[in-house]
């Protein structure tokens, strides 16, 4: 064993870069940030020991430029690279180049990334490994007739999916026979336009499915443990919005089976490091492999909170060749953790992005609350990257306690200058269906969104008085010339909806 890295380059930005650097600093490891031209003042640059500009704002010219990042690694003398999530984290070619440069890649071997990167290949591998998959072929289907015959055999509803797909592109649900052929043709054409590859396959549509995923951690010595599950069924446009652990409806025997299957899946690709196996969970507790994410997940903090394991520290240790310091028996799922992804988005307006300057930014605090953030008061949410502002993660002795704490924390958040999804979360935490724990990935229907973003028109008179007082205070302290300009200015007005 050659010991831990001395200096880690974090090939990412935002909250995940900050979070990774914190673990590095705790291990006494120096950190190198890379940044694009608009990110000079970003929190991850401020947090790092060294920082290098790698190009203009668009990701394709900065955070996705593997060559520039390897340059920086060489120049800075970094001996390892942590990719975070997104960007280059699941790029097997980049991982290989990192290894070829003699650096430690804090992630699985390129082979595992590749094997799990293609839906068709990963599905075939999982079937071979005895992992349950959603009924349906993994082979690309070329003719409408073949599609029809497969779908009829399987029974409706079915899903048509693009082999190279993601983010809902090239995906169609078909609930009866006569809809199949038009949907098949549309999916192929969309897949071709989106991915340059028109391969599609058909699988059984699971009714009222939940998205439940299992965190695994594997060292280079063949040990694989699981860190229990996360339920990520609250989604909009196939993007996770709220995650919780444990899954409120998972039966103990299903948990045992699902986590065992997850370990099987990881072993099937000789997995190393932290990874996540995503499943669909049916109403009858049947579950089916969806895909594997060969990197740290956005929602990893809820697993850290219920298990006490620092996943980033564990990633660094196993990538350095250390054996896992704990066994499966040491791991417990204690209490309940929930994460809300606070986005610069207007939930009431079809999640329209709301970039801008954070005129005020105060995070909640107190017992069992964690805020992972890449922003600060005065920083800007730009249009160039994912508009996530921060992740609010809370822990409670049980689900009800965690929800109570979340409500309190959401009320303590103070963000001005942009619209955020906080009002949506505040409404969600009072929603009877969410509180029941019985929901599925279709939870956020248009109707539910309308309920959760319903406009409360009542105005507190003290709020009106507060505005008048602050305006007067400002007028009294400003020079007349400035205050004149202030008053003549036309202002857009609305209340944040919830």
């Amino acid at each position: 064993m050659s010991g831990l890295p001395k200096k880690i380059l974090v090939a990412n930005r935002g909250e995940i870069a900050v979070r990774v650097m914190r673990s590095c600093h705790e291990l006494g490891i120096q950190t190198v940030a890379v940044y694009s031209e608009v990110d000079r003042k970003a929190l991850h640059v401020r947090m790092a020991n060294e920082a290098y500009c790698i190009g203009p704002a668009p990701s394709s010219q900065s955070y996705l430029r593997g060559d520039a990042i390897l340059e920086v690694a060489k120049e800075s003398g970094a001996d390892a690279i942590h990719p975070g999530y997104g960007f280059l984290s699941e790029n097997a070619g980049f991982a290989q180049k990192v290894l070829d440069a003699g650096l430690v890649w804090i992630g699985p071997k390129p082979f595992a990334i590749q094997a799990m990167g293609s839906k068709t290949e990963s599905r075939a591998r999982m079937v071979a490994a005895g992992v349950p998959v959603v009924p349906g072929g993994t082979e690309p289907i070329v003719s409408p007739e073949e599609a029809l015959s497969i779908a009829n055999d399987m029974g409706y509803p079915v899903m048509i999916k693009a082999s190279a797909g993601g983010g809902g592109k090239g995906m169609r649900e078909v609930s009866k026979e006569e809809e199949l052929i038009p949907a098949f043709n549309a999916a192929r054409s969309e897949a071709r336009n989106s991915f340059g590859d028109d391969s599609v396959y058909i699988e059984k549509r699971i009714i009222r499915p939940r998205h439940v995923e299992v965190q695994v951690l594997a060292d280079q010595h063949g040990t694989v443990v699981h860190l229990f599950e996360r339920d990520c069924s609250i989604q909009r446009r196939h993007q996770k919005v709220v995650e919780e652990s444990p899954c409120p409806v998972l039966l103990p025997e299903t948990r045992r089976a699902m986590t065992q299957v997850a370990i099987q899946a990881a072993k099937a690709v000789h997995y190393e490091g932290a990874g996540t196996i995503e499943f669909l969970l049916g109403e009858d507790q049947s579950f089916y492999f969806l895909e594997m994410n060969t990197r740290l997940q956005v929602e990893h903090p809820i697993t850290e909170m219920v298990t006490g394991v620092d996943l980033v520290q564990a990633q660094i240790r196993v990538a350095s060749g250390e054996a896992l310091s704990f066994s499966q028996e040491d791991l417990q799922q204690k209490g309940h953790a929930i994460e809300c992804r606070v986005y610069a988005e207007d939930a009431a307006n079809n999640w329209a992005p709301s970039p801008g300057l954070l005129r005020c930014y105060t995070e909640p605090s107190g017992p069992s609350i964690r805020v992972d953030s890449g922003v600060y008061e005065g920083s800007e949410v730009t249009v160039y990257y994912d508009p996530m502002v921060s992740k609010l993660v809370v822990w409670g002795e049980n689900r009800a306690d965690a929800i109570r704490r979340l409500k309190r924390a959401l009320n303590e958040y103070q963000i001005l200058g942009i619209q955020t999804s906080i009002p949506f979360f505040q409404a969600l935490m009072d929603d009877a269906d969410f509180l029941s724990g019985v929901y599925d990935t279709g939870f956020l229907t248009q109707e539910k969104m309308n309920q959760l973003t319903a406009y409360d028109d009542s105005i507190d008179p003290d709020l009106v008085a507060a505005l008048a007082i602050l305006a007067l205070e400002k007028d009294l302290t400003l020079k007349p010339a400035v205050s004149k300009r202030q008053h003549s200015k036309w202002k857009w007005f609305y209340q944040e909806k919830r």
Partner: protein
């Protein structure tokens, strides 16, 4: 001093004055009340209405924004003596803007169309997503200022509204 404050389409006229111990105010000619207001930093005040404690963060620089009891509000604050200036520069909700830089995908209304509040009137592509823009209030389209394909700056205006006749 008097301010006209618009919040959620409701307009309040507030008379407010500084005193030795804080501020007195009366809303819409109602009873005069007292508030203690302590400045904590450039964008934060600690208020006491009678015994009710409210901690506010605010920004009066561009929009009048305030965070009050767990909620963010955006308001319009006006000095009524300068009301004419407001009229000249356009009443509230008289235009439809894109909050972000982007490209116009579609315009769903024409000049003279009657629209109702919340109706989707245009879509703009920004941050790789289609974003619908809604009418801020009931009204009639006074002008359409852009066409599909046009590039927009942040806060760029697409349409303007006039009151229903």
């Amino acid at each position: 001093m008097r301010y006209e404050i618009t919040l959620n389409d409701q307009v309040f006229l507030v008379e407010v004055n500084k005193t030795e111990t804080g501020y007195t105010y009366a809303i819409d000619g109602g009873e005069e009340q007292h508030c203690s207001a302590e400045r904590l930093s450039f964008n934060r005040h600690a208020l006491l209405f009678r015994q009710r404690s409210v901690d506010v963060q605010y920004s009066l620089d561009e929009d009048a924004e305030i965070h009050f009891e767990g909620r963010r509000y955006v308001a319009n604050i006006m000095d009524p003596r300068k009301k004419s200036i407001k009229m000249a520069s356009g009443g509230s909700g008289d235009v439809v803007r894109s909050q972000m830089p982007g490209r116009v995908i579609s315009i769903l209304v024409s000049e003279g169309d009657t629209v109702s509040k919340g109706q989707i009137v245009a879509t703009v592509e920004a941050m790789k997503m289609e974003n619908p823009l809604k009418a801020p209030r009931d009204g009639v389209i006074a002008s359409v200022d852009v066409a599909p394909g046009d590039l927009l700056e942040a806060k760029g205006v697409l349409l303007s509204l006039r009151p229903v006749d």
